[in-house]
């Protein structure tokens, strides 16, 4: 009885992991079009990490890096061939233009920090 319960709980936890990290998505923040979107770089995450933007239009993201660990020192948009150095505490504007609708990931060098531009 006890054995069953624990095993079932373990399975449930695994299912939850799969669901939470792969299947579900956090809600994307809409980009209204006025002014840059501020992205805080701290504690291993970009906040917000999922941003909805119109496709084919330039978007300016203002990165504000608070985390001094070297991991956070760059923001790379691999598929858009854009990269930026982020000094601690100094906001850096990065303008990108997602050409077609789709998801564009941006990350730190080591992929600890991960964010997505959702172009529509």
């Amino acid at each position: 009885m006890n054995t069953w319960a624990i095993n079932l709980a373990g399975m449930a936890v695994m299912a939850l992991i799969v669901w939470w990290f792969w299947l579900s998505r956090s809600k994307a923040q809409h980009f209204s079009g006025a002014g840059p979107i501020e992205i805080i770089v701290d504690n291993g995450v970009y906040t917000p990490a999922r941003i909805e933007v119109p496709a084919g239009q330039p978007v300016t993201l203002r990165f504000v890096r608070k985390d001094p660990s070297p991991c956070a020192e760059k923001a790379l948009f691999d598929s858009l061939e854009v990269s930026a150095d982020l000094p601690v505490g100094k906001p850096v504007d990065v303008t990108v233009t997602p050409p077609v609708p789709g998801e564009y990931e941006f990350t730190c060098q080591m992929r600890m920090y991960r964010g997505t531009l959702v172009a529509r």
Binding site: T3, I6, N7, G10, V13, M14, I17, V18, W20, F21, W22, S24, R25, S26, P36, D42, N43, G44, V45, Y46, T47, A49, R50, P58, T60, P68, S69, P70, K74, L76, D78, E81, S83, D85, P87, V88, D93, V94, T95, T97, T107, Q109, M110, R111, M112, R114
Partner: protein, 748 residues
């Protein structure tokens, strides 16, 4: 009354411009700002140069209002600020390490000696309760950032190294606290607290990150060196007075004085004086270059002998040095295809590890021996700690950073990680003859006087006729005469005979100068000079006959000399296993003579400039991976068509930004060096990736207890923590080995 800032030049980087239409919008926005006297937007560079008495902030605001964004560009960079921030972070990591170590290590050492009170007694429980509270303090102070990061990334549906560390150490603490508070819940054999493991793991990870930062500092040496080349001040001449001003205040077209032993502050053109300039810091070319009025000088290079005045032509972020720094920076953060594979893996890595951890937990629960609960915890915790993907994530970027930086030290600018990887895969190198294998400037190579003549007399007459000609060969003859300090006489009745040569009257005598056909036309007997001419032609020289008053005076042979180190560089390319092809518009005989001289495998002669790209395509269709080396101007389409385009000798040119690889020195050794660095870097990345994968692939099963059924061995979580901390240190140190890369070139 408001005080307006003085008239100056501001440079802005503009983002968001996607078409030429945007350029006029931005330009108008700038022109409408009060105080702006002149503005120019460069679409290719996404920059604007604005003159006028206006603050940069106002300009940025105006551009923002027009729907784009902008930031001020400054030439001299402040690296010290960044370094100070890094140092303080390094110190905070060390402090965290010390605090966690002071708590964790004594506990860990005391344990085997039975110095710790048992949990069975009341006093023992109180003791452990206090230890638990102290450990909690350690976790909050020294490990708080892992927990905050884990929670935040969890909420963003993301998992990373913080997640693993927080779960591992958190589980250890919670379990230990349960044991202390409710010992009856836990079978007596499993009644063991793991506070010390949590504290020591946190200590080791902080130490590992501190060591990693130390090692990382060295990886960016190349860029620091380049930034260090930028002088801080310039001595400008304003209203006849010389003053030292900060480099950022130098304006375009200003006159600047450079004295011997000083660095040249910005790019410009010498307007007075001459000197020899050491450009090796930028080009890798060891020989100083003589500079006189009208010659270009490059900021960051070193003035050796004379004092001169020059006019600033490129300032701030426009200078060659600033562009090089920017290009190296950009290239350092791009990744080649092998690196992107690791990225894809590390993106799903942590959730996979979490699942493995749960499976481990269940496996021990179902099949493990007693004390089950302890084993379950230890194995799960060890899996979480050892599986940290940090080394995997570091493997590629850190090697690229060192490799691209190393190349820059050799005067080789690599555009991105992809070009770096491709350069190591090339099978064929196509060399453009003129300016690549050869100097690209014809020179007089041989003088053969006929009976009754000598070399000086021969050259005097030849130079006298050619003084009026604009043919490139004429220039070679005139400068050869100048080099021998020959004064030419004046020529009259100059006449160019197309396809044959020239004729003129020198000192009252009728002179013909040209090929054998011209001599035949005027019935000049050439005698044994014909065979000499044939010999010269076979050695890629162009012989020209000189006839005075109907009698031959001798041969002046002109050739585009082969660069002294072309032969040894081509031998190096062969040694790497590449096929070397030469492409040229010249006639086949000359081309083959050059090819024989330097050891080229295949010659494509008499190729029109526009057809070079097609030749590259043809090679690619044969299955070759082609590197094309050219001087970057007329070879542009072929450079673009090749798998890797090497632009040679364009260090101070804008062309550096369009080539995959730009060689600032005119030597072919740069190509061999670039390929060697590429091979070394790719090998280094593979070592790193292999190390990181093996570490996880072997580490995880061992941590989960794969060896336990056979040896009864279970990995200690503290050792897992130490191994995890060392894995990224190892990767960074391995990448640092690239700094010791040595080129195979024999320096002349």
């Amino acid at each position: 009354m408001s005080v307006s800032p003085p008239e100056n030049t501001t440079r802005l980087s503009i983002s968001g411009m996607t078409c030429a239409g945007c350029v006029s919008t931005v330009e108008n926005a700038l022109k409408n700002v009060p105080g702006v006297t002149e503005s120019a937007v460069n679409f290719a560079e996404h920059t604007a140069t604005v003159r006028g008495s206006v603050d940069a902030k106002v300009l940025v605001a105006a551009i923002t209002a027009s729907g784009y964004s902008a930031a001020e560009l400054r030439g001299a960079e402040d690296e010290s600020e960044k370094e100070a921030a890094e140092l303080s972070y390094y110190r905070s990591l060390l402090r965290k390490f010390i605090v966690a170590a002071v708590v964790g290590f004594p506990l860990m050492l005391a344990e085997p000696f039975g110095l710790m009170p048992m949990l069975d007694t009341d006093s023992g429980r109180v003791f452990w309760l206090v230890i638990g509270a102290v450990t909690l303090g350690v976790l909050v102070y020294a490990g708080g950032h892992f927990f905050r990061g884990a929670w935040k990334s969890f909420r963003a549906h993301n998992a990373n190294m913080d997640t693993l560390i927080a779960l591992g150490t958190g589980a250890a603490w919670v379990y230990s606290m349960l044991v202390v508070l409710f010992p009856d819940m836990v079978p007596s054999l499993a009644r063991h607290a793991y506070f010390e493991a949590a504290a020591v793991i946190i200590a080791l990870i902080n130490l590992g990150q501190a060591l990693e930062m130390r090692a990382r500092g060295k990886t960016s040496e190349a860029i620091k060196r380049l930034i260090g080349l930028q002088p801080k001040t310039a001595r400008v001449v304003r209203d006849g007075k010389e003053t030292d001003i900060p480099i950022s205040e130098v304006g375009l077209d200003e006159t600047i004085r450079v004295r011997p032993g000083e660095k040249i502050p910005v790019d410009g053109v010498i307007i007075e004086g001459h000197s020899s300039v050491d450009e090796s810091m930028l080009t890798g070319e060891p020989m100083p270059v003589e500079k006189k009025t009208g010659d270009d000088v490059t900021g960051g290079t070193f003035n050796k002998s004379g004092s001169f005045l020059f006019q600033a032509k490129r300032i701030g972020a426009d200078t060659a040095l600033a562009r090089i720094i920017e290009m190296v920076r950009r290239a350092q953060s791009t990744k080649p295809a092998i690196g992107r594979l690791a990225d894809r893996i590390s993106a799903v890595f942590v959730p996979v590890v979490l699942i493995i951890a749960v499976l481990t937990f269940l496996a021990w629960f179902n099949f493990g021996p007693e004390p089950k609960l302890s084993y379950m915890l230890v194995a799960t915790m060890t899996v979480l700690i050892i599986a940290c993907p940090c080394a995997l994530g570091l493997a590629t970027p850190i090697s690229i950073m060192v490799g691209v930086g190393k190349a820059a030290e050799y005067g080789i600018l690599i555009r991105n990680g992809e070009a770096l990887q491709q350069a190591g895969k090339l099978t064929t190198i196509v060399l453009d003859k003129t300016g690549t294998v050869t100097e690209g400037r014809p020179a007089v190579t041989t003088l053969v006087p006929a009976a009754g003549w000598d070399e000086t007399k021969l050259l005097t007459v030849a130079a006298s006729i050619e003084a009026g000609s604009e043919h490139p060969l004429a220039e070679a003859i005139v400068s050869a005469a100048q080099a021998r300090q020959i004064k030419s006489s004046s020529a009259s009745d100059f006449q160019a005979i197309t396809g044959h040569g020239v004729s003129a009257t020198v000192e009252g005598k009728k002179v013909y100068f040209g090929n054998a056909r011209l001599m035949a036309q005027h019935n000049v007997e050439l005698g044994n000079l014909v065979t000499r001419a044939e010999e010269l032609a076979a050695r890629a020289q162009t012989p020209m006959f000189l006839a005075v008053d109907g009698f031959v005076a001798g041969i002046v042979a002109v050739a585009d000399p082969i660069k002294p180190d072309s032969k040894s560089a081509i031998a190096r390319l062969h040694a790497i296993g590449l096929k070397v092809v030469m492409i040229t518009g010249d006639n086949r005989a000359t081309a083959e003579a050059v090819a024989r001289e330097v050891g080229i495998d295949e010659v494509m002669a008499e190729v029109l400039p526009g057809d070079k790209a097609d030749k590259v395509t043809a090679l690619q269709q044969r299955g070759e991976i082609v590197g094309m080396v050219g001087d970057g101007i007329n070879d542009a389409p072929a450079l673009a068509q090749a798998d890797v385009g090497f632009a040679i000798g364009t260090g101070t040119d804008i062309a550096i930004e369009s080539a995959d690889v730009a060689l600032m020195r005119g030597s072919l050794h740069g190509v061999a060096d670039a390929i060697a660095i590429s091979l070394a870097t790719v090998r280094n990345i593979k070592q790193n990736l292999f190390g990181a994968f093996v570490y996880n692939v072997l580490g995880i099963p061992v941590a989960a207890g794969a060896l336990f059924p056979f040896t009864g061995l279970l990995l200690n979580p503290v050792i897992a923590g130490a191994a995890m901390a060392m894995s990224s240190v190892t990767v960074v140190s391995n990448a640092n080995r690239l700094r010791w890369f040595k080129s195979g070139a024999t320096r002349t």
